[in-house]
């Protein structure tokens, strides 16, 4: 217990980094995932093909490799500098990697949500004279979102846990702190592990409950 009590401040700081990584990547994934969904159902075959290839590649590559690629490849090798401060730079590189990976899953969820929207909705929109973009943005996508609140919640929880892998890009989040603490307080491994595990349970449990409640609340009654 001593380790957890002594280092409480630094542990909280590490978890704060986890929360920030999760929040920013979640926002990015939602935007990119929605865009990819729109591309996958677009009238242009070229857009559909681009999105399909992207989603296939991102979904089937290990996140470790995606993050190493953003860190070593894009960051170190291509010299993409997002900030002068190394820590901030690594943070944004990790966000890019997590977003690139997670948005593919958001796209898959949203696409299955589009399948739940009755054909009549889009047909009615078209008969009112709405084009593709308006039909999608005003009629079908909002309903699709409401149908996939629960899967999006699972993706968010998975993302929260996946932020631990950002350590390969050098972001000092919870898993890094846990490894350091185990090295310093070798005899208290169990307490340290349980403490960090509890941290993640505390982060993920409310999300699961919130999204469960939201999905019931927002479900489209048909």
């Amino acid at each position: 217990m001593e380790a957890l009590l002594n280092e409480g401040g630094t542990i909280l700081a590490a978890f704060w980094m986890t929360v920030r990584l999760t929040a920013v990547s979640a926002l990015g994934s939602l935007v990119l995932g929605t865009l990819l969904t729109a591309m996958r159902v677009a009238p242009l075959a070229s857009l559909r093909a681009t999105a399909t290839v992207y989603v296939t590649v991102a979904r089937n590559t290990p996140l470790t490799l995606v993050l190493l690629f953003t860190g070593l490849g894009i960051g170190a090798n291509l010299g993409l500098e997002l900030s002068d401060d190394i820590a901030t730079n690594n943070f944004w590189l990790a966000v890019i990697g997590l977003t690139a990976y997670t948005s593919a899953f958001v796209c898959e969820a949203l696409r299955s949500g589009l399948n739940t929207v009755p054909v009549g909705q889009a047909e009615a929109a078209r008969s009112l004279g709405l084009g593709f973009v308006k039909t999608l943005a005003l009629i079908t996508l909002p309903q699709a979102f409401r149908a996939v609140v629960a899967p999006l919640g699972s993706i968010l929880i998975a993302l929260t846990k996946n932020t631990t892998i950002a350590l390969v890009v050098g972001v000092a989040e919870a898993s890094v702190r846990m490894r350091e603490l185990i090295e310093t307080y070798g005899d208290q491994v169990i307490e340290i592990f349980l403490g960090f595990a509890a941290g993640f349970v505390l982060l993920c449990l409310p999300m699961g409950l919130l999204f469960g409640w939201l999905s019931k609340r927002l479900a489209v009654a048909r």
Partner: protein
């Protein structure tokens, strides 16, 4: 799956407009490709000597094949143990005894909500304090993969059992089977079969997660590729592309298998429904 209901079939003007837009998309893609090309080119990542090593037999023999063997070894061990763990805990969570059901539920929910990397760290760095010996990186990775994916598999199998018609269980009891027999001979086989696509998707997750091994120094494909090949030929980008391609091919094959199994099982149940 087409989404043609989202837009009208284009008329002559629409066809022309779509052609223009397609050209613009192609231009945008080319622009992105060009920027990437130039950026990589500045770092010489397109130079032939960075790519030719990937074709050499000795590079495959020293790096890629052993790495792939490491990845597959961890994945196969993980799949087998996670399936066992999943079966045991799915049955335990379905038990009618509260003192089995509740602890099993707690174990499953706990391991589902802890990041895999923390489990691997716990096993790898904590083993000496816990059991007095340092376990290998392989054991730590398999430990993590088993507990995390096993918990998810337990939930998949449990959902499968719960989705079976009540008559299955009742009929099994009616012909005089005991509780264990009902589960083992009637419910589990059907649940596993119904959930095969979901189980295979989880195996894809497991295979991808085995790449986490490189963080504790387990000798697997991503490690051999990015730290082995790239260190020798300083070709991070080509090596990463090759490794990603290998993973994508394996995972797509598994995905296709899952789809085929899913399609054939729905076909079977549909035809048997027709018969009855």
């Amino acid at each position: 799956m087409t989404y043609a209901n989202l837009y009208e079939r284009p008329g002559p003007r629409g066809v022309r407009r779509n052609r223009v837009l397609t050209a613009l998309v192609a231009l945008a893609l080319l622009a992105v490709a060009y920027v990437v090309y130039v950026r990589f080119d500045e770092k010489d990542q397109w130079a032939a000597e960075k790519w030719t090593p990937l074709l050499r037999a000795d590079v495959w023999a020293t790096f890629i094949l052993p790495g792939l063997a490491g990845t597959l070894a961890a994945a196969v061990a993980g799949v087998v143990l996670a399936a066992l763990f999943g079966l045991v805990f799915a049955v335990a969570r379905l038990s009618e005894h509260r003192w089995i059901r509740v602890p099993a539920a707690m174990v499953v929910e706990f391991f589902r909500s802890v990041p895999l990397l923390l489990l691997i760290f716990f096993a790898f760095f904590g083993s000496f304090v816990l059991i007095g010996v340092n376990i290998s990186a392989f054991a730590a990775v398999v430990f993590g993969l088993t507990l995390y994916n096993g918990s998810v598999i337990a939930e998949i199998i449990r959902a499968g059992v719960l989705s079976l018609p009540k008559g299955q269980r009742e009929a099994a009891y009616a012909v005089g089977m005991r509780k264990g027999q009902v589960m083992r001979l009637v419910l589990l086989p059907q649940a596993v079969k119904a959930m095969l696509p979901a189980l295979i998707s989880q195996f894809v997750v497991l295979l991808k997660d085995s790449a986490l091994g490189l963080i504790v120094g387990y000798d697997e494909l991503v490690d051999r590729g990015l730290n082995g090949i790239a260190a020798n030929f300083s070709n991070v980008i080509p090596a990463a592309i090759l490794i990603a391609a290998i993973f994508i091919v394996i995972n797509m094959a598994l995905d296709r298998l899952a789809h085929r199994l899913g399609a054939s099982s729905t076909r079977r149940s549909a035809s048997s429904a027709r018969r009855s």
